[in-house]
């Protein structure tokens, strides 16, 4: 039914103007190829990819619920909550090699801790931290959407994701 993972089938999703890439290499900016590949390597069977698919889709759930929690924490202006949520999602996105998402989460973690985006300098203004988080959260959701679309397609479920 679905195209196998490595074929370069070009599928144009009707809703998107941008074409969703089909190969990992095309996602270089968002996904660290080698990190993701070592997870693919753990699949017992290249054709069904049960293991990696389970993890990736588990991550989707985790990410989406985390975003909701972040928005909630943002409304409550709970910086420390935001920081730990950022840390939490950072861990799993990094493990999957989703570099863009990971970087953004790291920023949120630092902002939430009252630091600048690198975590090295203190940021005394809570308002500044919150507004930075708000911006980063918007960005990370876009980044996430991008990799999600790619990964869903990669696993042959692009129709549902759109």
């Amino acid at each position: 039914m679905a195209p196998t993972t490595t074929t370069k089938t070009v599928e144009e999703p009707p809703k998107e103007t941008k074409e969703i890439p089909s190969t990992l290499a095309e996602m270089k900016g968002s996904i660290d190829e080698s990190t993701f590949e070592q997870i693919l390597e753990m699949d017992d069977d290249d054709s069904d990819r049960d293991f990696s698919k389970g993890i990736v889709f588990g991550f989707f759930d985790q990410a989406e619920s985390t975003f909701v929690k972040m928005e909630d924490a943002l409304r409550r202006e709970d910086l420390s909550d935001l920081s730990s949520l950022g840390h939490y999602l950072k861990g799993s996105s990094a493990t999957l090699g989703l570099t863009k998402v990971k970087d953004a989460c790291e920023k949120i973690q630092h902002y939430g801790a009252g630091k600048d985006e690198t975590g090295s300098t203190d940021e005394p203004e809570k308002k500044t931290s919150l507004s930075r988080i708000e911006k980063t959260l918007t960005q990370v959701k876009e980044d996430y959407k991008e990799v999600e679309a790619f990964l869903r397609k990669y696993y042959g479920e692009d129709e549902e994701s759109a």
């Binding site: 660290d32 190829e33 080698s34 990190t35 590949e37 070592q38 997870i39 693919l40 390597e41 753990m42 699949d43 017992d44 069977d45 290249d46 293991f51 389970g54 993890i55 588990g58 991550f59 985790q62 730990s84 840390h87 939490y88 950072k90 861990g91 799993s92 990094a94 493990t95 999957l96 090699g97 570099t99």
Partner: protein
């Protein structure tokens, strides 16, 4: 009053007390009758109006106005207050506020008996009291005190016992670990011996043929221990044989000790027997003194054990001297008998080439390591678990530090604990701290917080190492092999040159840097980063003595590794045709091109060393090795 005074002076009984006489005098004065007077029976006196008595009479007769001290004084002379409840209604016949005092010798109209009223001797009186009323209570008190004291003692003993049992457990674990290490060392020594014997045999053959006796051997001796070189040539007996004998004796002992050990993975029997027969055939001259050769080989071999996944490394032996005698394909070209372990090596060698995507690595465990993975994040837990599974590990997971501590407390035994740092309920550092109160299982911090002060904190709380997140399959495997050396099957002596190269490499390319890094985790983030991200850089250092800080291990490897390398080198110098083969060897063995290397932590920038390593091995091996040789021979 005045009369009272005078009568006092005329009182005949000098023996009687001043106080008693004053008292008697006072009572003789009828003008006080409303306030104080003799009792109705004449054997007591009654203070009817306490207040007036205190204010008017006491000052006159006793020069104070303190009723309480008057009563005290009375008590001293053994007057007793007459209890009012003697009466039916509890009322004194003299009125409610009356104080009636009595003394057997104090009676109206009996001035003489006053002499018998004496001030009580305080001490005997007290004793009397204690023997009377308070004997039971005192005894109870005493018993109570004893009980309390005993309870305290029991408590202390109990605490001490707990402490001792914890210590004992720790010691047992240490002993087990040390014994395992010793076993492994034994194995290595035996293999080295076998190898040396074969070398020796061949050298003799060769030297006979070439009629240049002792030449090769002199070389060997001088490389191994220069002082030994000369003496070995003169030695008519066989140091090598002697060494083997020693080894065999030692082996017997060790095996005896092993009886008490439970999970002994790999008894050295198979390899241990090897040296003996081989030895008999080569009884002539020693190539190596046991102490020197063993020590060096030992250390070097232990490193090699860690290199489960074979790095693309150039063999110094092959590159400079000839064939790699241990490489499986060359077995047939090697003109002397090989250690029996060769088969295992062969299979291990081939595996990297065969390995495709989903192939599970078997790093060659004696038994499956039991790993506890403590991680709150499902993604990391799944992937980490899968990786571990692919390394043939038995995995148990815990959602947070609390669960981990509970598992350990409930007696679950693990070979290694991988511990996330930031977790709900109980973080990794606290969990580690708790576990360390009663358990010494190696704990690896798994975290993206790897700033120097973070790392310092981890170590302070008893963690053994840090695995930076996101970990890769390789970094995880390196970590396992580093801390689970005792579970590895003995790799044949082969990989020694490899690790020699690795150490040489490190010494050359990043000596200063890595020394600094390892000696103080509290360096700048960038430097310590590289240190922790490349656990394979000095594999096995901590394996030799897992609890020794790395600083100490740092300087050890270079020298022994070099020595081991020399041993190999000496063994392989001969067959000219083999050289061609050997040059191809590194290429053949190089299994995994840098693909995974790039994934290393996805932080190539922070860790340039790591990413570049394969290429450096390939191209710079020669210059790398030469300085070592220079240092060694010079």
């Amino acid at each position: 009053m005045d009369g009272g005074q005078t009568s006092t002076s005329t009182a005949p009984a000098g023996n009687s007390s001043d106080f008693v006489r004053k008292l008697y005098k006072m009572l003789e004065d009828p003008s006080y009758a409303e306030i104080v007077r003799w009792g109705d029976e004449g054997d007591s006196f009654v203070v009817l109006e306490c207040e007036k008595f205190t204010k008017t009479i006491l000052p006159k007769h006793f020069k104070h106005s303190n009723f309480a001290s008057f009563v005290r004084q009375l008590n001293k002379y053994d007057f007793h207050k007459v209890r009012q409840n003697n009466e039916e209604n509890g009322q004194s016949p003299y009125g409610q506020n009356a104080w009636e005092f009595k003394h057997p010798e104090f009676r109206a109209n009996s001035k003489e008996s006053l002499d018998n009223i004496r001030r009580k001797a305080p001490a005997p009186r007290k004793q009397a009291q204690s023997t009377e009323d308070s004997v039971p209570t005192q005894q109870i008190d005493l018993l109570n005190q004893q009980i309390v004291a005993q309870q305290q003692q029991i408590h202390q003993l109990h605490e001490r016992h707990t402490r001792l049992s914890v210590d004992h457990q720790l010691m047992m674990q240490e002993v087990m670990r040390v014994q395992k290490t010793i076993l492994n060392h034994e194995n290595v020594i035996h293999q080295v011996m076998t190898y040396l014997l074969s070398v020796d045999a061949r050298q003799r053959r060769d030297s006979k043929a070439a009629a240049v006796p002792f030449q090769a051997q002199g070389q060997a001796g001088s490389t191994l221990s220069p002082s030994q070189g000369a003496s070995m040539d003169d030695e008519p007996s066989s140091p090598l044989q002697h060494a083997s004998k020693l080894l065999n004796d030692m082996n017997a002992e060790i095996q005896f000790n092993l009886g008490g050990l439970e999970s002994m993975g790999e008894p050295p029997k198979t390899t241990a027997v090897v040296p003996t027969p081989a030895l008999e055939t080569a009884p002539r001259n020693g190539v190596a003194r046991p102490s020197a050769a063993d020590a060096s080989a030992n250390t070097a071999m232990v490193y090699s054990k860690m290199n489960g996944e074979i790095e693309p490394v150039v063999y110094p032996v092959g590159a400079t001297n000839g064939i790699d005698p241990m490489y499986s394909e060359h077995v047939n070209n090697v003109p002397y008998p090989m250690p029996p372990k060769q088969e295992i090596d062969e299979s291990r060698r081939q595996f990297p080439d065969n390995r495709k995507k989903s192939a599970n690595v078997d790093p060659g465990w004696v038994r499956s390591p039991h790993i506890l993975l403590v991680e709150d994040d499902a993604t990391c837990r799944q992937i980490g678990g899968k990786f571990l599974y692919s390394f043939s590990c038995l995995i148990d997971t815990a959602f947070d530090g609390l669960e981990a501590v509970n598992k350990i407390q409930d007696g679950s035994k693990y070979d290694l604990i991988l511990m996330d740092i930031i977790m709900p309920n109980l973080g990794g550092v606290s969990a580690c701290h708790l576990i360390r109160q009663f358990d010494r299982t190696p704990i690896i911090a798994m975290t993206s917080n790897i700033r120097s002060d973070d790392i310092q904190l981890y170590f302070q709380h008893g963690m053994d190492d840090v695995l930076p997140k996101p970990f890769t399959r390789k970094s995880l495997l390196d970590m396992l092999e580093k801390h689970l050396v005792h579970l590895k099957t003995m790799p044949p002596g082969i990989e020694a040159p490899q690790s020699a190269a690795a150490v040489t490499m490190a010494a050359q390319s990043s000596a200063a840097q890595s020394v600094k890094e390892d000696s103080s985790p509290g360096q700048s983030p960038a430097t310590s980063m590289t240190a922790w991200q490349s656990p394979g850089q000095f594999p096995g250092m901590t394996a030799v003595a897992p609890n020794v800080p790395q600083v100490q291990g740092q300087y050890i490897p270079a020298a022994p590794a070099a020595a081991a390398y020399a041993v190999d080198q000496n063994g392989v110098q001969y067959p000219a045709p083999a050289v061609a083969l050997a040059t191809t060897a590194p290429a053949a063995v190089r299994p995994q091109p840098p693909r995974r290397q790039l994934s290393e932590m996805s932080s190539a920038t922070e860790n340039p060393n790591m990413a570049k390593r394969p290429r450096m091995y390939a191209h710079q091996a020669q210059p790398m090795v030469n300085p070592m040789q220079a240092a060694r021979t010079g």
